[in-house]
């Protein structure tokens, strides 16, 4: 889900995705960078993102990923699901 979110606004390459997650979560979520890739490939196999070779800001060849329509739909449903979960948990916690 985090990867999908990171790609919500524009295509990014692997390093950039890692940075984004890192940044947006305000450093709370630190992932071993390499482990992004299995997840990326899985999402690619499922057709939620697609990839293309391009050139990065540093003039390096990199593979850029972007969301597909299916990916967007998935992101939306995942977010909704997550928020429902969080709300429920909040309710439970507050009741106690």
């Amino acid at each position: 889900m985090l990867i999908l979110r990171a790609l919500q606004h524009e295509p990014r390459h692997g390093l950039a995705i890692a940075d984004r997650i890192h940044l947006v979560s305000a450093d709370v979520l630190r992932v071993e960078q390499g482990s992004l890739y299995p997840a990326l490939y899985r999402l690619e196999a499922e057709g939620l993102i697609r990839a293309e070779w391009g050139v990065s800001e540093k003039n390096r060849k990199a593979r850029f990923y972007e969301l597909t329509a299916a990916g967007r739909k998935r992101l939306a449903s995942e977010i909704e699901h997550w928020e429902r979960m969080a709300a429920a948990v909040r309710v439970v916690l507050s009741k106690a």
């Binding site: 390093l15 960078q33 390499g34 499922e46 060849k61 593979r63």
Partner: protein, 912 residues
């Protein structure tokens, strides 16, 4: 949906994997470089930057592995690679590979051959269209015994009243002889066991839908008695083998004895694969009318036919059986004096040559188990060998493990290797099975021409079922053989392997134990097989030395054959003529009419007053009503008293009994002159065979006096001499009997031709003449074949077991070279060392044999039905097992013991 797309993507990725692999490497590298750049920009030195980047990134190799998993159908990739590795490894060790493959091939080959046989008999459908619709009408009696034997009366009744079959045919199989013996020469020159013809209802070909190769099939008009010339349709096999496949055969005449008319005009040849509703070589098919005699048409007890029908669509077998049952109850039971009362009609499948009911399958279980045992032994042996070899690869696998290979992957690797071995063994086994079916099976059959002709038509070639079977079993064998060693080699504890510790004192005891258990299991199974084979062989051999209790080398039976056009008066006259002429022959010492011979008698209960308790004792006996000269013709040895003479009639109330009957009825006393009670219906002379007597309690009894006691013989039971038999004088017949028993002063075979001539002169047809020796041999023959098969299996398993034991002991010595070296260095004599090895080997062998023997005794108790007559403590079989022990022990331990004795302590201690 997502999964599906993912699957497609992954399959696509599999084919593009090299390109994708490069791409992935480039991508990861680029990411890494990006991180390095950042660190450099932050001021680190290049090495620091690189280290930091790597740490941030994570383990590259593992990431790559996971990434590959995520995007491609990885397991296929792995499989392909593993198979490649397996093939390379196996090629580098040809000796090991061949031995294991060969071991497996023995077990797999034997089982493939068995399955091919089964496939031909029980799985392949009959070569007629829609064979699934074919059902045979079956009768079940009160005791659950089933039979498909029907009479013509049954056939006509069902045919005329049923509505569930679209067609019903009646089939009877009978033996015939060519009128001129030299007329038919088999293309292979093989001895024929006799020719068989099927007399069938004329709708046979139409109902079954048999394709024809030449001419026309039988038609209803062929049953017309007024036809000028009777017809026959030949089987393809007969046409090819005996008539050379001559295309101009239509219209030719064949002449056979045993049919109502001798000259038959050929009207057609059946298609190539058709042998009838059951396997067996046949000359061909003739209309039912061709069967000689009259009585069988109206006699309900002349049950020589099987009735097979094509079930109409939409009707279940149960429904059809109900209707047939109703017909049977109204038409048959009522009209024929209560015969068949209480019988249930069912339909049994007739779509294969061998339609196995679950019951019959259970009977075949021992055979299947024996083959299965050979398979298990092979697998155990293979497992042992693989285990032994895997020990030498421990180091390699420890290293792989340390480098990060998961246990799963290593197991997959090893299991793939053993499955490849299994498939290799399967391929060899396939070849072995083919060879066995081509050479061994015909050789077995040639021993008994009856069996060969009886199983013609079984297509013993491989089809997809056999292939599937062999492949599955090969894979299973590979798994069974390789799983245990694989599990052992990939265990977690790497240190000993990495330190290259050989198995020094006491280490890997668990492994030796595992190996030993395997070997003991193999030996147990082998010795069980040998034991069983010994039992069977012993019994088969014994049948050759069975004392029948009377001299059967000079006896013949003769059945007078009459054409169907003869009336009752003519038949009687013909029989009398035969009797007179045979009696006058100088070569004939004695002659008697006889009931069907041999082994014919019916059970009965007789009772005797016991003076001791003043009560009545009942004894179950076999009884037979015989003409006056029967017993003297048979030359049954007489113990006391006399046989019947011409004046004895049933009214005289006399009987002759066997020794055993005398013992059972009057134990410890003289039986001569004693009296006993039998149901009156017996004496009245109405002894139609096969009709059971019930209600013994309220049947009036009459008492008979014993006038003679005969020696026990096998003429009424081929397996048991000591039967209680009661002979009664047969009532004087108004009609001459059809069967004659003839004794000649010299060997019976010499008189056969003369008898043929006499019969032909009287009726125009040659009679059926058999020597009693032939008749007996037929009964015992099947046991010989079984004994041979068992013997072969046991022999094979012996080879496998010895190889296994040898391998294990050699390896054990090899492993413990260091230990032995130390022992020798410390002063043990080489002889002591060798003896030690010998002891250990023998210990295994003894364990295995004892267990095997225990197993066989248990089996023998359960499988008594197969082995009646031979006890589990049979000396021959036990002797064989002991021999087995000795041979195996010696062969297997000789070389390893010598090698152990020759260990040079200096070399051993230095070597690693």
């Amino acid at each position: 949906m997502r999964r599906l797309r993912s699957l497609f993507f992954r399959i696509g990725a599999f084919f593009r994997r090299r390109g994708l692999e490069d791409e992935m490497k480039a991508e990861l590298q680029s990411h890494l470089d990006g991180l390095v750049d950042r660190h450099l920009a932050a001021g680190m030195s290049p090495e620091e930057a690189r280290d930091a980047a790597r740490r941030e990134f994570g383990g590259i190799a593992q990431i790559q592995e996971e990434a590959r998993d995520a995007r491609s159908v990885v397991w296929v990739e792995h499989l392909v690679r593993d198979v490649g590795y397996a093939v390379r490894t196996l090629r580098k060790n040809p000796g090991f590979t061949l031995v294991v493959a060969f071991t497996l091939a023995l077990g797999l080959g034997v089982n493939t051959a068995l399955f091919t046989w089964f496939n031909a008999a029980a799985f392949r459908p009959l070569p007629v269209p829609e064979s699934e619709q074919l059902f045979a009408i079956t009768r079940l009696d009160k005791n659950g015994n089933e039979t498909k034997a029907m009479s013509l009366v049954d056939f006509v009744t069902y045919r005329d009243h049923q509505s569930v079959f679209s067609g019903l045919v009646a089939v009877r199989n009978m033996g015939v002889e060519p009128a001129d013996a030299t007329e038919f020469m088999d293309a292979r020159g093989a001895k024929s066991s006799g020719f068989r013809v099927e007399t069938v209802s004329p709708n046979y070909f139409a109902v079954l839908g048999v394709p024809m190769a030449l001419g026309r099939p039988l038609l209803p008009s062929d049953e017309d008695a007024s036809r000028a010339q009777p017809v026959i349709v030949l089987s393809h096999q007969f046409w090819q083998n005996y008539l050379g496949g001559d295309p101009n055969v239509i219209g030719r005449t064949l002449r056979f004895r045993g049919l109502a008319e001798e000259a038959l005009s050929i009207v057609g040849v059946a298609g190539p694969d058709f042998y009838g509703t059951g396997p067996g070589a046949r000359v061909g098919w003739v209309p039912t009318l061709m069967r000689p005699g009259e009585s069988w048409r109206t006699d309900l007890t002349a049950t020589d036919f099987t009735l097979t029908g094509r079930l109409r669509a939409g009707i279940s077998p149960e429904q059809a059986a109900e209707e047939l049952q109703a017909i049977a109850n109204t038409m048959l039971v009522r009209r024929h004096e209560g015969a068949r009362t209480g019988e249930v009609i069912v339909l049994s499948k007739a779509s294969r040559y061998l339609n196995l009911s679950p019951r019959q399958l259970v009977l075949m279980l021992p055979l299947i188990c024996m083959f299965g045992a050979v398979f298990v032994i092979s697998c155990a042996n293979a497992s042992n060998l693989i285990l032994a070899r895997s020990m030498t690869r421990q180091f390699e696998f420890a290293v792989r493990s340390a480098l990060g290979a998961t246990r799963r992957r290593l197991l997959a690797l090893l299991v793939t290797e053993s499955v490849v071995l299994g498939l290799l063994g399967g391929a060899l086994g396939w070849a072995l099975a083919a060879a066995m079916l081509r050479f061994v099976w015909p050789w077995l059959l040639d021993m008994q021409p009856h069996a060969r002709d009886g199983t013609a038509g079984l297509v013993l070639t491989a089809d997809y079922r056999v292939f599937a079977f062999t492949t599955t079993v090969s894979v299973l064998a590979g798994l069974a053989g390789g799983l245990l060693p694989a599990l052992h080699v990939t265990r977690r504890n790497l240190l000993p392997a990495l330190n290259r510790e050989g198995s020094a004192f006491g280490r890997s005891i668990r492994l030796s134990r595992a190996r030993n258990y395997l070997v003991v299991a193999q030996l147990a199974l082998s010795s069980a097989l040998i034991f069983i084979a010994g039992l069977l062989v012993h019994r088969a051999l014994r049948t050759q030395f069975y004392d029948p209790g009377f001299d059967l080398s000079r006896l013949l039976t003769l059945e007078v054959m009459v054409p169907r056009t003869f009336g009752a008066g003519q038949i009687d006259a013909a029989r009398r003529q035969v009797w007179e002429r045979v009696r006058e022959l100088p070569e004939v010492a004695a002659i008697s009419e006889t009931p069907r011979f041999p082994f014919s008698s019916t059970p009965a209960k007789v009772s005797v007053h016991d003076p001791g308790t003043a009560g009545v004792r009942t004894v179950q006996v076999l009884q037979l009503a015989v003409p006056a000269s029967y017993l003297s013709t048979l030359q049954l040895p007489l113990v006391q008293g006399r046989f019947f003479n011409r004046d004895d009639t049933p009214a005289d109330r006399v009987a002759v009994i066997s020794e055993t009957a005398a013992r059972e009825l009057w134990p410890g006393r003289d039986a001569l002159g004693q009296r006993f009670e039998v149901p009156r219906s017996l004496v009245a002379g109405n002894t139609a065979s096969g009709v059971e007597r019930r209600n013994e309690a309220d049947t009036p009894h009459t008492s008979l006096t014993v006038v003679g006691i005969a020696r026990d013989s096998r003429v009424f039971d081929p397996w048991e001499r000591s039967r209680s038999i009661v002979f009664l004088p047969a009532p004087p017949q108004t009609q001459a009997g059809a069967y004659l028993l003839i004794r000649t002063p010299h060997a019976a075979e010499r008189t056969v031709a003369t008898l043929h001539q006499i019969g032909r002169d009287a009726t125009g047809m040659a009679p059926r003449v058999f020597t009693v020796k032939e008749l007996f041999a037929e009964v015992y023959l099947q046991y010989r074949v079984v004994a041979w098969v068992a013997g072969i299996l046991a022999g094979l398993s012996l080879i496998v077991a010895v190889t296994g034991l040898y391998g294990v002991m050699t390896y054990a010595v090899h492993q413990r070279v260091k230990e032995i070296g130390i022992r020798v260095a410390l002063g043990a004599s080489p002889r002591r060392v060798a003896t030690g090895v010998l002891y250990e080997t023998l210990r295994l062998v003894v364990w295995g044999t004892v267990l095997g023997y225990a197993l066989s005794v248990v089996l023998a108790v359960f499988a008594r039905v197969y082995l009646f007559g031979v006890s589990p403590f049979d000396p021959v079989a036990c002797g064989l097992v002991a021999l087995f022990l000795a041979i195996v022990g010696l062969l297997a331990s000789w070389v390893p013991a010598r090698r152990a004795a020759r260990v040079n302590p200096v070399v051993a201690l230095r070597a690693e």
